[in-house]
């Protein structure tokens, strides 16, 4: 009898634990990329949310470091049926495999319910649309340009260039003073890609550049050839630090800090990075790469938070996301969370964060182009990087590079057709 009683008790306790009642808490998991101290700030933010929404608790899981680790973890969680309710990803091609595989919930209903478009920076919200739907909510907007050593520019009486010709003259002046114009880390391809993207924007203009990135026109065209000729010129004239192809992007900052090179092609995150590296921010500034086109477009992309299709608590996730993007929350936390916000009108203190403030003003404008690695699938992108390396090392001439790119693009399009 005692055994039966015990069994009934165990079943009652177990059933009580597994079936939530009306007053029970909903627990959500969110996968982020943050490392300390930003991870701790995020936990503080989540604590504040929980205080305002006692029924919803969001816990943070982290895959620190750069994207690939997060991608691998996410893929494993998705395939094994244990995805986080929400997860951070970049935009563009990087998120698409998860959407195509049916692992991501569309958020159109929530955009309509909460009127998110009014809260978000328009280009950021537009950029994360895919197949005419919203699959995420932008959490940050990132922009890139030439960061330079203001002290070196002052010493050599160099002004920020307004045209591409002025930029070339600037590089020559620096070279004449035994300073490399640009330090880059070519090891993974994407750091060098930023310069190539810029040269394509300069030589092709906005319309053709966008068409090239959407694979709507041939890469074997004079404008692409011209962009690679310019890349080769940057290498051959030693405007870029020699041997940069094997350098990791973070290591490329060292010659810049040492004053051996005057510029790096980096993003708005550099103010925080410069401070973390214990450098004096007043010695550094940035300008947008001059394209000789109007409007002046710069390389930019949003990052987003997505909701898993398998999450049983999508409504609660939307409540959190709606709270998260509100200006008062973003104003308080965005400088602490390693990324400029995607919420309209949120600005940092211009005295405390002078460069980031400048970037925020720039990023509010709707004049940017996507970096190529957010437009192309990884495999095509690696072939693109391969061509880039071959031009730099002189293994391919610019016309051969343009032909090779078109060959890879066509093969990729054929593969996609075969898949569909």
């Amino acid at each position: 009898m005692a055994r039966v009683f015990l069994l009934v008790l165990v079943i009652l306790v177990a059933s009580g634990c597994s079936s939530p009642g009306r007053g029970d808490k909903v627990r959500l998991r969110m996968l982020t990329l943050l490392i300390s101290p930003a991870r701790d700030h995020m936990n503080a933010l989540l604590g504040e949310f929980h205080a305002e929404h006692p029924r919803i608790e969001v816990s943070q899981e982290t895959a620190p470091g750069r994207g690939p680790l997060l991608m691998e973890r996410l893929r494993t969680q998705m395939v094994t049926g244990n995805p986080p309710d929400m997860f951070w990803l970049a935009s563009g091609e990087i998120a698409r495999p998860f959407i195509d595989a049916g692992f991501v919930a569309p958020l159109d209903d929530y955009y309509a319910r909460y009127d998110w478009e009014k809260t978000l920076i328009p280009w950021a919200a537009r950029r994360i649309r895919y197949k005419e739907q919203w699959w995420g909510i932008p959490r940050s907007t990132r922009g890139m340009g030439f960061w330079y050593r203001a002290d070196i520019f002052r010493r050599l009486a160099i002004a920020e260039p307004a045209t591409y010709a002025e930029l070339e003259r600037l590089c020559e002046t620096l070279k004449g003073n035994r300073v490399y114009c640009l330090s880059m880390g070519g090891k993974f391809g994407w750091n060098t890609m930023r310069l190539v993207d810029y040269l394509i924007e300069h030589s092709a203009g906005s319309e053709l550049h966008d068409k090239l990135n959407r694979l709507e026109t041939s890469w074997d065209c004079p404008e692409v050839v011209r962009a690679y000729e310019l890349l080769k010129k940057w290498v051959d004239r030693q405007w870029i630090l020699p041997g940069f192809l094997s350098l990791a992007p973070d290591d490329a900052r060292l010659p810049w800090y040492r004053g051996d090179a005057a510029m790096v092609f980096e993003g708005d995150w550099m103010e925080a990075a410069i401070r973390n590296d214990e450098q004096d921010i007043s010695r550094f500034d940035f300008f947008l790469a001059p394209t000789d086109h109007d409007p002046l477009r710069f390389s930019a992309f949003p990052e987003q938070i997505l909701v898993a299709a398998a999450s049983p608590h999508r409504d609660e996730a939307a409540v959190f996301l709606n709270w998260y993007i509100q200006p008062r929350v973003q104003q308080k936390y965005f400088t602490l969370l390693e990324g400029p916000t995607a919420t309209r009108g949120v600005l940092p203190d211009p005295v405390q964060w002078p460069r980031l403030y400048k970037w925020r003003v720039v990023l509010a404008k709707d004049a940017s182009y996507f970096p190529t690695d957010q437009m192309f699938a990884n495999q095509l992108m690696d072939q693109w990087f391969q061509v880039q390396d071959q031009v730099i090392t002189g293994r391919l001439s610019p016309p051969e590079a343009a032909r090779a790119l078109q060959r890879h693009a066509q093969a990729w399009k054929n593969r996609l057709k075969g898949r569909n």
């Binding site: 690939p68 991608m71 691998e72 893929r75 998705m78 395939v79 495999p97 998860f98 195509d100 595989a101 049916g102 692992f103 070519g186 090891k187 993974f188 391809g189 630090l241 020699p242 041997g243 940069f244 192809l245 094997s246 350098l247 290591d251 010659p255 051996d260 699938a377 990884n378 495999q379 690696d382 990087f385 391969q386 390396d389 071959q390 730099i392 090392t393 293994r395």
Partner: protein, 293 residues
């Protein structure tokens, strides 16, 4: 003849280990074999059976896969023979009663115990074109023309990673050869010396034959290790410049995890398995024969 009860007991005791082995090793292996015959992308719930297409692609359609195979052959040949030969020379020298031999043994063995990623980072810094010790030394010696962007140039990147692999891989064979050398009876050398045999003849006719089994162990282990070469290349060059330094294992990783070609990546993994088995089976048979007399 064993009684059925004994057999059942044996199976009972074996079953926990077999269960774990089956679940965590056998099942994933067979699953990856099955995936290698599909076009699965690693994420999507959909895939199609494609037969031997992935294997045909590796050997006949894809120049990059063939390049990885070629690089792997070169990598194997070099990392099997050079560290073994160099290890044998060092072991022979350090087997004498020279002063400080323990210190030298420790110095030469040290790289073998370092994590490969740490080794890769150290050497990547040494190869740094601006302030790496290799180019700085060459410049200091007035050999400016010999300096290179070692890991950035197509011609030098792969050989540069091989040098690192040799540096890292010499200590272990040296240790095995030292153990082997200490098993050779001293009388053999004394008798040969009395017969007038010089150092070289003693080495050829006594040392090398006595080390026959050590050679097999050293070469087999090095061959198996070489097929798993991943860390050094991934951390030093990331397969670049271009894709010129990929070997099979890094190419498998890129296909599986970066390009979302789980089918092709699994097929590459099985090519590695088959080559590894061709090396491993004779080694295991040799060890088993020795154990059973």
């Amino acid at each position: 003849m064993r009684r059925p009860k004994e057999t059942a007991t044996a199976w009972l005791f074996l079953s926990p280990a077999l269960f774990i082995y089956g679940l965590f090793l056998l099942y994933p292996m067979l699953a990856s074999l099955a995936i290698s015959f599909t076009n699965w992308d690693g994420i999507s719930p959909r895939w199609e059976f494609t037969g031997l297409d992935n294997y045909r692609h590796i050997f006949f359609d894809d120049p990059q896969s063939l390049r990885a195979v070629k690089n792997n052959v070169v990598w194997t040949l070099v990392t099997v023979t050079v560290p073994a030969g160099w290890g044998l020379i060092l072991a022979t020298l350090l087997n004498s009663s020279m002063r400080g031999r323990t210190l030298f043994r420790a110095i030469f063995y040290c790289p073998s115990v370092l994590p490969l990623v740490a080794v890769a980072l150290i050497w990547a810094w040494m190869y740094n074109p601006q302030f790496g010790i290799v180019n700085v030394t060459l410049r200091a010696l007035g050999l400016e023309d010999w300096t290179h962007a070692w890991l950035s140039e197509f011609e030098t990147a792969f050989p540069a990673t091989l040098v690192t692999a040799i540096w890292q891989g010499t200590g272990f064979p040296m240790l095995l050869y030292l153990a082997g050398l200490q098993g050779i009876p001293r009388q053999q050398y004394e008798a040969a010396e009395l017969d007038g045999a010089g150092w070289f003849r003693r080495f050829i006719h006594i040392t090398l034959p006595w080390l026959k089994e050590t050679h097999i162990v050293v070469l087999s282990l090095a061959a198996m290790q070489s097929l798993r070469a991943f860390d050094l290349i991934y951390a030093m060059t990331y397969g670049g410049p271009g894709r010129s330094t990929h070997v099979l294992s890094t190419w498998m990783y890129f296909n599986l995890f970066q390009y979302r070609q789980a089918g092709l990546g699994s097929a590459i993994a099985w090519v590695i398995v088959i080559i590894s088995l061709a090396v491993t089976i004779p080694y295991i048979r040799m060890v088993a024969r020795r154990r059973h007399g």
